[in-house]
């Protein structure tokens, strides 16, 4: 499998590093304090390729807790509020856009 670090990193705006949590697969975001959060608001925001590479390197190193870290775009409002930068990330954050058939 090609490591995400072997891929050319190109970002066009504010970005974060996200992954899935190992034990349950839940969506998690890399924070600025070398840990993970399930809150996008707590994600570390990077704005350059070098910053993104550094954050991704640190995330990839935590293979025990996170699966498949990658860089994803976000939008940052004037008040600092962070929103997902595309539909995929929006769904990962807020859940399926449909009503689930059941909720056990």
């Amino acid at each position: 499998m090609t490591s995400p670090l072997q891929q050319k990193i190109k970002i066009t705006g504010p970005s974060i590093v996200t992954a899935n949590r190992t034990w349950d697969g839940a969506v998690i975001y890399r924070t600025g304090s070398k840990s993970w959060s399930d809150e996008l608001a707590e994600a570390a925001i990077v704005r350059t390729a070098d910053e993104a590479r550094a954050l991704l390197t640190e995330a990839v190193a935590d293979d025990l807790n996170a699966i498949g870290p990658y860089i994803a775009p976000v939008e940052v409002a004037a008040d600092g509020a962070v929103k997902p930068g595309n539909m995929r990330e929006h769904i990962r954050l807020t859940g399926a856009t449909i009503a689930l058939p059941a909720q056990a």
Binding site: W23, G25, I67, G68, T97, I98, P101, A104
Partner: protein, 551 residues
């Protein structure tokens, strides 16, 4: 039903113990994700957008009521109370936790359900006509052969590291309900002039990025040679399949690039070296498998019982009966298809409560048996005709007496971007909106048989290429768009659909489908001419003109 023997049970239990150890080592850090990924995939464990997804095989689409109840238990105990039936006779759970997976797997193993090889580059679940063993006119029950192939290919070392995944489907009826022509190997069971059982063997079908309809590689392979012939195909594939390029790794690409004649010659050469060897089946082996299938003790029943005559006065029952009930090989019995396509709901999903209730209905009215079809519907395969009114009422009580089988709202759809990490666009909300547009049963009936298939990406899990109307989600500049094809079909006359025009945005898809259907109603030669036949007769142009005239 097929009864597992001790070898089967031991194999499945050992696999559970092995996976439990692998999960433990992954969660302790002893295994990296790179090391673990292939192990989990070999057990049907994917990682999707929000969670792990667990895919479980339902070999040849046959389920016992206790197995369905156990699936309900897994949905309730380890997931979010529902499961999703797929286009390959599997069920998927979308929210399962890795840490709990071994327990779920062990619970399923107790009733003979397993997930081996439901993912990864190996031989996937061998699928079959969901009406196998009960369809009138069937040559013989194809599940006996499907089970032989399942046992032969499970954990077979030569088939465990193939260039890419590999899928076999089998049918024994003239009308192909198993979509064999879009499989890597399709098998059509038939008898030769001597009355011997054998197979027409097709190879190189598949959808995805490069869709192909399978070609006949050999018109008749004797039953006792089928394992060696399948092995010969796989040996040629193993030798020449493109391991260097994932997009060219499926056998369909090899067959296409070599040409069917050259490919067939390679297989023939390989086959001649092994056909008289250990893989030659003697009748005892086939008989042993056959003896492990249990069939209901059918009773003598009237062809038209009074209960059915009386119920025919209820238009709601009649609507369901005409749409969902199909002939059975045994007089006085019927196959009752249970649509999992309610208006406005995700296609193919069933709640744990519905699964439990359906298991009860199967116990009471269908000898405890349920079938799973590739159209993402279920069926009760052995219902006495006199019990049909009671079955209908019981299904209605759980929201599953939906009279839309084979109609426009009986949509095949993949999970799409709401769940899947590969998807570019959503499938389920598109399906939901279309079902709302065609919720009127009289309208749907007027339209007649029309299959809409939706995929959220080019991998085509929703079989969009072979939908009468096919819808493929793509991404353009961060927006969801949908390419629409018409004229595809997945049966014995399988064809790939033709693109009707430029992709349309998410909000317009249901409008376009309505326009296509309106065009069909105006263009069809007579009410009995099916949509797909009108497209075949006229081509796509008249549809293109009407749909895109105002766009």
């Amino acid at each position: 039903m097929y009864a597992y023997d001790d070898i089967d049970r031991t194999l499945v239990n050992e696999r559970v113990a092995e996976f439990r150890d692998q999960v433990k080592r992954r969660l302790s850090g002893e295994l990296s994700e790179d090391e673990f990924k292939m192990l989990r995939l070999q057990n049907g464990v994917y990682l999707q957008l929000h969670a792990y997804m667990y895919r479980i095989a339902i070999p040849y689409g046959t389920l016992a009521s206790n197995q369905l109840r156990r699936l309900a238990h897994v949905a309730r105990r380890y997931d979010r109370g529902y499961g999703h039936f797929t286009t390959r006779q599997n069920i998927q759970f979308n929210w399962i936790k890795l840490a709990e997976l071994p327990d779920a797997m062990a619970d399923l193993a107790e009733v003979g359900i397993q997930s081996m090889q439901t993912s990864g580059n190996n031989m996937r679940n061998v699928t079959a006509d969901q009406w196998a063993g009960v369809a009138p006119g069937e040559v013989e029950d194809p599940r006996i052969w499907a089970e032989l192939l399942r046992q032969f290919t499970t954990l077979h070392p030569e088939f465990s590291f193939l260039p890419r995944k590999f899928k076999i489907a089998i049918t024994a009826s003239e009308h192909d309900r198993a979509a064999i022509k879009i499989h890597d190997i399709g098998l059509r069971l038939l008898k030769n002039e001597q009355g011997e059982t054998g197979f027409e063997v097709l190879v190189g079908g598949g959808l995805g990025r490069s869709p192909f309809i399978a070609k006949t590689i050999k018109p008749f392979v004797h039953g006792h040679d089928i394992l060696s012939y399948v092995e010969a195909i796989l040996r040629v594939y193993n030798q020449y399949g493109r391991r260097d390029n994932i997009y060219k790794a499926r056998i369909k690409i090899l067959v296409h690039e070599l040409g069917i004649e050259k490919f067939a010659a390679e297989v023939e050469e390989e086959w001649q070296q092994i056909r008289e060897g250990v893989l030659k089946l003697d009748e005892g082996i086939v008989e042993d498998i056959r003896s492990r299938f249990f069939y209901p003790a059918y009773e003598t029943q009237p062809a038209m019982p009074d209960e059915l005559k009386q119920a025919a006065h209820d238009p709601k029952f009649e609507a369901w009966r005409k749409n969902s009930v199909f002939p059975h090989k045994q007089q006085g019995y019927a196959i009752a298809v249970v649509s999992l396509k309610p208006v406005g709901k995700p296609p193919g999903d069933a709640t744990a409560d519905q699964m439990d209730a359906l298991a009860d209905i199967a116990d009471k009215y269908s000898f405890g048996e349920i079938r799973v079809g590739h159209e993402q519907n279920l069926a009760l395969p052995h219902v006495k005709k006199r019990d049909l009114p009671a079955v209908w009422k019981a299904l209605e009580a759980i929201g599953l007496a939906i009279p839309n089988v084979n109609l426009v709202s009986d949509i095949i759809a993949c999970p799409g971007l709401d769940y899947c990490s590969l998807a570019n666009a959503r499938s389920i909300p598109i399906a939901q909106e279309i079902t709302r547009r065609f919720a009127n049963h009289d309208t749907a009936n007027l339209i007649g048989r029309l299959h809409i298939n939706i995929s959220g990406c080019i991998n085509a899990c929703g079989h969009h290429h072979v939908g009468h109307i096919g819808i493929l989600g793509v991404e353009k500049n961060n927006e969801e768009f949908y390419q629409i094809t018409i004229g595809g079909r997945a049966d014995e006359g399988a064809e790939l659909g033709t693109l009707i025009g430029p992709a349309v945005p998410y909000a317009e898809v249901a409008d376009v489908v309505e326009d296509i259907v309106e065009a069909y109603l105006a263009l069809r030669a007579r009410p009995e001419e099916l949509f797909v036949d009108t497209v075949k007769r006229l081509g796509v142009e008249p549809f293109r003109e009407r749909v895109y005239a105002t766009r």
